[in-house]
């Protein structure tokens, strides 16, 4: 049960990463590798602030802002300096590795004694319930802390997803979606495609930075290595989500990305439990995304071949 709760919570936290990847890869069709650096940046900023005793809410917001600045930088490199999109992301990600080390001052910042959103959630719950450290949900006994954290994370994700959905239906948000869909058209309608890309990447990496900030607080540390391969992780979640909902309707796609992230994390937890070597995790993730990318094409070709025969 604890394992399940943990996987669910991390899956929800990483669904912010999935939403960010959804914006850059799907809305803008921009292969944004900044992700690996911006999730760590969000975690690093939040961790350092929390150690200084800053309020967890403010620290998380600062993580969002840090990610947003990183994303905007990638956007400026791509649109103003005319650097290839993939390369822009790689440049910023590489630079961020050093920046993250500077922010943290060392390669790992533990949050054992700092007040985090997790300890806040626990405190609120004990205040409400009065001292009891275990809860009974559907006949299961769960640690109060775990349940409180899950509820708080769930509330955060629902709020973030609703805000994103609402934003993408405003004048600015629709212009952003059209920028990815048909830049020629939206330019002829008076939208500066470059600026729109910068804002979009800032938003995407802001969400990713927030995801990192929450992840650091949940797992109790920020580590300079924690971002490696996260872009592929996010992509895997988005792909699973698309398969789950099977439409391009905005609300459903956003819901799908969140569900995909949770499901993927659960699958990984189960696989690890069943004896998968943690060292193989990134290999498995990459293989999964690879398969998801080429399988639809192969299936279509096989069908066509069968039709002709």
């Amino acid at each position: 049960m604890t394992l399940l709760l943990g996987a669910l919570t991390i899956g929800l936290i990483l669904s912010l990463l999935a939403l960010g990847v959804f914006i850059s890869f799907r809305v803008f069709d921009f292969p944004d590798i900044t992700t690996d650096g911006s999730i760590t940046l969000g975690a690093a900023i939040a961790a350092v602030l929390l150690v200084k005793g800053v309020n967890p809410f403010v620290a998380s917001a600062a993580g969002f802002c840090g990610g947003a600045v990183a994303g905007a930088t990638t956007g400026v490199l791509h649109t103003k300096c005319k650097i290839n999109g993939l390369l822009s992301g790689i440049l910023v990600m590489t630079a961020l590795y050093s920046i993250n080390l500077h922010v943290m001052g060392k390669s790992n910042v533990p949050l054992l004694s700092a007040a985090t959103f997790a300890s806040d959630a626990e405190r609120i719950l004990t205040a409400l319930k009065g001292g009891d450290t275990a809860l009974h949900v559907l006949g299961w006994e769960v640690a109060a802390r775990d349940a409180a954290v899950l509820v708080l994370v769930l509330a955060t994700i629902v709020l973030a997803a609703l805000a994103l959905y609402a934003f993408l239906r405003t004048d600015l948000g629709t212009a952003m979606r059209a920028t990815g869909d048909n830049p020629q058209m939206i330019r002829a309608l008076g939208v500066d495609v470059g600026n729109m890309t910068i804002i979009g990447l800032a938003l995407a990496n802001g969400l990713i930075g927030l995801s990192g900030a929450l992840l650091a607080q949940y797992q109790g540390f920020a580590d300079v290595q924690m971002g490696i391969g996260m872009v592929v992780w996010g992509l895997a979640s988005v792909i699973i989500g698309e398969a789950l909902v099977g439409t391009t309707q905005l609300g459903l796609v956003i819901t799908g990305a969140i569900m995909g992230s949770v499901l993927f994390r659960l699958l990984v937890a189960i696989a690890l439990r069943a004896g998968l070597n943690p060292n193989d995790l990134k290999l498995m993730t990459a293989t999964f995304v690879f398969a998801a990318l080429i399988l639809p094409g192969l299936v279509a070709r096989a069908r066509k071949g069968a039709g002709r025969a």
Binding site: T170, D171, T174, A175, R177, Q184, M185, I186, A188, L189
Partner: protein, 251 residues
Amino acid sequence: MLEVRNVFKTFNPATPNEVLALQGVDLTIERGTFVIVVGTNGSGKSTLLNAVAGSFFVDGGRITIAGHDVTRWPEHRRATLIGRVFQNPFSGTAPDMSIAENIALAARRGRRRGLAWALRGNFADEMRARVRGLGMRLEERLDNAIGSLSGGQRQALTLLMATWCKPELLLLDEHTAALDPKSADQIVRLSDEAIARDELTTLHRGRIIHDLAGAEKRRLRVDDLLARFEEVRRGEQLDESAAQLLRRAYV
């Protein structure tokens, strides 16, 4: 209204692929007139339209629209003055977005885009009424993705979007070329209506069908030019049927 003065544009200068596309082009179009630019393939008609729309900056000369010197304005800024329909029916609309959202985007052409709902409540009725005017029954499908429509339907919507907010200048880049004769007819009728209703100034790129020496420089009244437009269009259809005849005879 539109003034193009001594405009130059060279593609790939100082390379073996150098193309002197525009060499000292002068063009004046009065408000409310309809001008067709004709010329052989590769003579620079699209390039002229793109220069006016701002797809690239010209190497020399000056372009003025409605009193604004737009020579150094980027394309998105010129969009405050220009409505545009492309030759390719897929160029003018965002395929994954709904008809209503596409129109909402066009309704804010050249204006600030903030955090107000794109599909405001009071907007739906006007949208339905104007889409009904196209006579394609699309008003019942406002929530459908534009990508699910035919080329003709998409071009009709692009035209509606280009003229949704009255533009100072309407650029039509051979916008019926990719359509079948029936859809082309419809688009021409819709263009006529929009142009007559809003007394638009229009620059249209047509293909050459007979020798109109110096026609680029001629300035005519709307009515003459609409007639001429019809003529050009019929010529294009003739062209197509002739091509079919040849194909039938030889293939």
